[in-house]
Symmetry: C2
Subunit: 175 residues, 2 copies
């Protein structure tokens, strides 16, 4: 499964919420997420464009591996594996013992909106501001998915350039 997504800065989240409401789309769920990122001892994930993340939210603890991003039109695609685990403390102990090092934490409040097979997420990121992510999970047809994302962004009044850096990269480059 490939995730095709694009992210844009949102100067005024109230405007995006109002447009979603006018389209009859209601918020599906609002969630606080605390993420901890790790780097590998044998290669630099900042250079290989990989990510190893431990996420704490109200559904529990999830470890995620993301492979290198591939740009597709105005969107990006990458391999992703998500695994629910029984304990974040034990997971982080194992990851540390294996030689991986904590690089940064990202905390955000996310609002999720579902538009058929498209997920729109409005993120209020601690230390960075507000962003919108538009995501389609697809087995194929990546170009089609990228086109559709562009159309949806316009309908929601988002007209800035798509952002290809992650919140982690933005936070690291602010340091």
């Amino acid at each position: 499964m490939l995730e095709v997504e694009a992210k844009f800065a949102v100067p005024d989240p109230r405007e995006v919420r109002a447009r979603l409401n006018r389209q009859g789309v209601r918020m599906a769920v609002r969630r606080q997420e605390r993420d901890v990122y790790y780097n590998a001892p044998h290669r630099d994930f900042g250079k290989t464009d990989e990510a190893l993340r431990v996420r704490y939210d109200d559904t529990g603890v999830t470890v995620t591996y993301k492979g290198p991003k591939v740009r597709v039109g105005n969107a990006k695609a990458r391999e992703e594996f998500n695994l629910a685990v029984a304990s974040g403390e034990t997971l982080e102990a194992i990851i540390s013992r294996l030689g991986f090092r904590r690089t940064a934490g990202v905390s955000k409040v996310r609002e999720f909106y579902e538009l058929g097979d498209v997920t729109v997420t409005l993120d209020d990121v601690e230390g960075l501001g507000t962003f919108i992510e538009i995501e389609i999970l697809t087995e194929e047809g990546k170009e089609d998915a990228a086109d559709r994302i562009g159309v949806i962004a316009k309908e929601l009044g988002v007209d800035g350039p798509p952002i290809y850096t992650s919140y982690l990269e933005m936070l690291l480059s602010k340091r």
Copy 2:
């Protein structure tokens, strides 16, 4: 928590079972375990005496990290973390993507016997034969625990030398 344990070869498992029965100890559980071991890309766990294991049994899937063994009297002690995960397939995909390589698989049928705070395990290991493991989990008093293990081994009629190599090491050295 430290695991203090010793392992011995068992020429005749029926003799050990008979002695446990005579002491009034009944088998607590019998379990089939399939283990997959991984080695790290940046250091050799065979040399650092660490282990990263994915275990499949009828309770589910567990990932375990074990630190280097420390010999204590006739027993060994090591740091150990166990984590239940939702999917073995996803876990192994993440471990592989992080650069770790499968080294070997160990399949065994284990019989567990509980004697207070001591766990006795009778293992029938595919390709290796039968072994007994005597284990005490302790916060301190490692020397005490090692002494008690020696006494229990004698009571069960096990008189061979304690074995400090793991099933994984035995299987790898047979290759």
